[in-house]
C-alpha cells in the first residue's frame, strides 16, 4: 500500500534507467539526505559525530570498496585493512611533501596509490581462485603492515612510528588536526562518501560493472563470451583498493587524527569483511547497513549494558562485546545468509501488499 509502483509510467528510456525509478524511493532518499545533511548536524552532539557518524560513514565507504571486489567481482579479499593503510600513508606523505595541497585533492590522490598497490596484489587472482586467493591476499596484508613499520620514509622517521595529521585549512576553515571541529570533519566525510557511492553505483550499472558480475557468476563462461579476465579482475581490484584507500585516508585525517601501523592490522580487514557480508554481498545499501550494524552495535553495547543495571568492569564489557558480536554474526548468517540488504528487500515486498496478505 505504501510502496507501490502502480500508476508510475515511464515514457522515456532515461526515466526507466534511473537509479531510483520509483517516486517512493526518491522521497526516501531525499529524507535520508535531509537527515544526514541537516538533521544530524543540527541535533547531534560532538561525541555522537566523532564516535558514531563519522566512523560509520568511513567504514561504509570501505565496505563498499570491499563489496566491489567480493560482492560484484567475486574475488575474496582479506587485505582490506592494508589497502586502507596504503591510502592513509599515501595521504600523509602527500600532505607532508605538498603542505599547500587541497585536502580533498590529497584524499582523492591517495586512493590512486592504493589502487596501484591493489592491482599488483590482484595479479595472482588471474591464476588462483576462491579461498586460495583469500589466503594470498593475506600476503598483501602482512607485507604492507611490515612496510608501515619498517620503512621510516613512510612516517617521516617519527620517533613514535605513528603518522600524525598536521593542521590543514581549506577555504579558511580548519579541516584536519586537533583544532578541526567534528562537524566540519563529518561534512567532508559525508560528501566524499556520498559522491563516491554515487560514482560506484553508476560504475556497477555500466559496462565494467556488468563484466565484474559476469566474472563473479562464472568466469570461464564470461571469458568465452568475450570478457577479458585480466581487465575485469584487475579493474575490480583497482576500484576496490581505491575506495578502501580513500576510506583509510579519511579514517586517519578526519577521525583518528593519528594512527599506528597496528590500526591497519588484520582485525580491520575482518571488520570490513563482516560489514560487507552481513550487509549483503553485491548491494551498496547493504554496505551502509552492515557498517551501521557492526560499528554501532559494540558502541551501543558499551553504553547500554551499564545503563540497564549490569555494573560490569570495562574489560568484561569488552569480552561480552566480542562474544555478542560473534554470536550475532553466526545468527545472522544462519537466518539470512544474503544479509541485511535482503531483509530490506523482503520488507519492501511486504510493504507493497500491506495490509493485505497477498497481492
Amino acid at each position: 500500500m505504501f510502496y507501490r509502483e502502480a500508476g508510475q509510467f515511464k515514457t522515456t528510456y532515461q526515466a526507466d534507467q534511473a537509479i531510483f525509478p520509483l517516486s517512493q524511493d526518491r522521497i526516501g532518499i531525499a529524507v535520508i539526505a535531509a537527515v544526514a545533511f541537516v538533521g544530524v548536524p543540527a541535533l547531534a552532539s560532538d561525541f555522537f559525530l566523532t564516535s558514531v557518524m563519522t566512523p560509520f560513514l568511513i567504514f561504509a565507504l570501505a565496505a563498499i570498496g570491499l563489496n566491489v571486489l567480493t560482492g560484484y567481482a567475486g574475488q575474496l579479499s582479506l587485505g582490506t585493512g592494508a589497502f586502507m593503510g596504503v591510502g592513509a600513508y599515501a595521504a600523509y606523505k602527500i600532505t607532508s611533501i605538498f603542505p599547500e595541497a587541497n585536502i580533498i585533492f590529497v584524499l582523492l590522490a591517495s586512493g590512486i596509490f592504493s589502487a596501484a598497490i591493489g592491482v599488483v596484489f590482484g595479479l595472482p587472482s588471474l591464476r588462483i581462485k576462491g579461498l586460495y586467493l583469500a589466503v594470498t591476499t593475506l600476503a598483501a596484508q602482512f607485507f604492507l603492515e611490515w612496510c608501515f613499520i619498517r620503512i621510516p620514509w613512510l612516517y617521516n622517521s617519527n620517533a613514535s612510528g605513528a603518522i600524525e595529521v598536521q593542521q590543514r585549512e581549506m577555504a579558511g576553515i580548519i579541516v584536519t588536526g586537533p583544532a578541526a571541529t567534528p562537524l566540519t570533519q563529518y561534512f567532508i566525510v559525508l560528501c566524499v562518501t556520498v559522491a563516491l557511492t554515487w560514482f560506484v553505483s553508476n560504475l556497477i550499472r555500466g559496462r565494467i560493472g556488468r563484466q565484474w558480475m559476469m566474472i563473479r557468476d562464472m568466469d570461464i563462461a564470461a571469458e568465452l563470451i568475450g570478457v577479458r579476465p585480466l581487465t575485469a579482475k584487475l579493474s575490480a581490484f583497482a576500484v576496490s583498493s581505491y575506495l578502501c584507500g580513500v576510506a583509510g585516508a579519511m579514517m586517519v585525517f578526519f577521525w583518528l587524527g593519528a594512527a599506528e601501523p597496528s590500526a591497519f592490522a588484520i582485525s580491520l580487514s575482518f571488520q570490513v569483511l563482516f560489514m560487507t557480508i552481513l550487509g549483503g554481498l553485491g548491494s551498496l545499501i547493504g554496505s551502509y547497513m552492515g557498517a551501521a550494524f557492526i560499528w554501532i552495535l559494540p558502541v551501543a553495547l558499551r553504553v547500554v549494558l551499564p545503563s540497564v543495571g549490569f555494573e560490569v568492569a570495562a574489560e568484561t564489557v569488552e569480552h561480552l562485546t566480542f562474544m555478542i558480536v560473534g554470536a550475532l554474526i553466526i545468527f545472522f548468517l544462519i537466518t539470512e545468509p544474503h544479509g541485511l540488504a535482503r531483509l530490506w528487500q523482503l520488507a519492501k515486498e511486504k510493504l507493497r501488499y500491506w495490509p493485505f496478505p497477498y497481492g
Binding site: 589466503v135 566480542f322 554470536a327 545468509p337
Partner: protein, 317 residues
C-alpha cells in the same frame, strides 16, 4: 648488493655449520608445529568443505582450558581429560548450532561463520580464563624439559630442547594415528567417503552430522596437542592466535585437502622461514617472518594453483 643477496648468506652458512644446523633444527620444530595446525584445518576442510578460521583460536582455547583447570586445583591428567571433553563438547555444539543450519551455503558464508566463532571464542575465553598469559604445565603433564647440547666438529655446538624433540615425536605419532584412523577404521572410511562426495555418502547411509561432529572433535584434539606444544615453548595467551595465520601459507602450499601436503608444506615453510629470517632478513631490516611464508606460497601458487598435493582442478562450463 648482489653479493649480499646471492653469495654472502651462503658464505655464512659454510663458515658456521653448527649454527646452520641449529637454524635448521629450529625450522624443523616450527615446521612440525605449523604442520599440526594445518592438519586441523585439513581435517575439517576435507570432511565438510569448511575453511575453519577458528582453528587458531581453538588451539588457544584448548590450551587455556587445560591450564585454567589445573590452576583451579584439578590434577594435571584429569585436567587433560577434561580439556579433551571440553573440545568434544565444543565440536558437538559447533556441529549442532553452526554447521547444521549452514549446510550447502557458499564457502564464503561458512568462512565468515568460523570467523564469527573466532570472535565468540576470544570473548568467551577471556571472559572465563582472563586475558593474561599463563605458563603451560609442561612438567606436570610428564613432558620432558631441559636441553641437551651436542658437540659438532671442533667447536660447534647444537642445542636441542627436549620439549621440541617430544613435540616432533608426538606430531609423528599423531599423524600416523590419524593415517591409521582414516584408512583402517569404519569411521575413518566414512570420513573419506564424505570428503569425496557428500551426496553419495548420504545415499549409502553415512550420517553427515555425526561425521562432522567427529571431525571437529578430531580437529579439537589436534588443537589441544598443538596448544600444549606451542604453549610449552612460549606462554599460553591470545597472542598464540596469530599462529593460525602462519599455518595458512602451509595450507596453500600443501593443498587444502591433503594430509601429507600439510606436513610437507609445514616443513617447507618452517625451514624457509627460519633460514630466510636469519640469513636474508637483516638485508631488509628484519622480522620478515611475518610475510615471508606468504610470499613463498604465493610464488609457488603461480606455478601450481592447486598446491603441492591438491587435487587437480578441472573446470567445466
Amino acid at each position: 648488493m648482489l653479493y649480499d643477496i646471492f653469495i654472502d648468506p651462503f658464505m655464512q652458512m659454510a663458515e658456521q655449520p653448527d649454527f646452520l644446523l641449529q637454524v635448521l633444527w629450529e625450522g624443523f620444530v616450527a615446521g612440525i608445529l605449523y604442520a599440526l595446525i594445518a592438519l586441523g584445518f585439513v581435517l575439517i576442510f576435507k570432511a565438510s568443505g569448511v575453511f575453519n578460521f577458528a582453528q587458531g583460536i581453538m588451539v588457544v582455547f584448548a590450551a587455556l582450558t587445560l591450564v585454567g583447570l589445573y590452576e583451579n586445583g584439578v590434577p594435571a591428567y584429569l585436567a587433560l581429560l577434561l580439556a579433551i571433553g571440553v573440545m568434544g563438547l565444543l565440536a558437538y555444539t559447533v556441529e549442532r548450532v553452526v554447521m547444521r543450519p549452514l549446510v550447502n551455503q557458499p564457502e564464503i558464508i561458512l568462512l565468515m561463520a568460523t570467523i564469527g566463532m573466532t570472535y565468540f571464542l576470544i570473548g568467551f575465553g577471556e571472559f572465563v580464563f582472563g586475558g593474561e598469559p599463563k605458563a603451560m604445565i609442561t612438567e606436570e603433564l610428564g613432558l620432558p624439559t631441559g636441553s641437551t647440547a651436542f658437540e659438532i666438529g671442533e667447536r660447534g655446538l647444537l642445542i636441542l630442547q627436549h620439549i621440541d624433540i617430544a613435540a616432533a615425536v608426538i606430531a609423528i605419532i599423531m599423524v600416523a594415528g590419524l593415517g591409521i584412523f582414516f584408512n583402517k577404521t569404519r569411521i575413518g572410511r566414512a570420513l573419506r567417503a564424505v570428503a569425496d562426495d557428500h551426496q553419495a555418502a548420504l545415499s549409502v547411509g553415512i550420517s553427515l552430522n555425526q561425521i562432522w561432529a567427529i571431525v571437529w572433535f578430531a580437529a579439537g584434539i589436534v588443537a589441544l596437542t598443538t596448544g600444549i606444544m606451542w604453549g610449552a615453548r612460549s606462554d599460553v595467551s591470545f597472542a598464540l592466535e596469530i599462529i593460525a595465520f602462519k599455518a595458512l601459507p602451509v595450507l596453500i602450499l600443501g593443498g587444502f585437502t591433503s594430509i601429507p601436503g600439510a606436513i610437507v608444506g609445514g616443513l617447507v615453510i618452517g625451514f624457509g622461514e627460519k633460514i630466510g629470517e636469519i640469513y636474508w632478513g637483516p638485508l631488509v631490516g628484519g622480522s620478515i617472518e611475518s610475510w615471508l611464508a606468504y610470499i613463498i606460497a604465493l610464488i609457488f601458487l603461480l606455478f601450481r594453483p592447486q598446491g603441492m598435493f591438491g587435487e587437480r582442478i578441472i573446470e567445466r562450463v
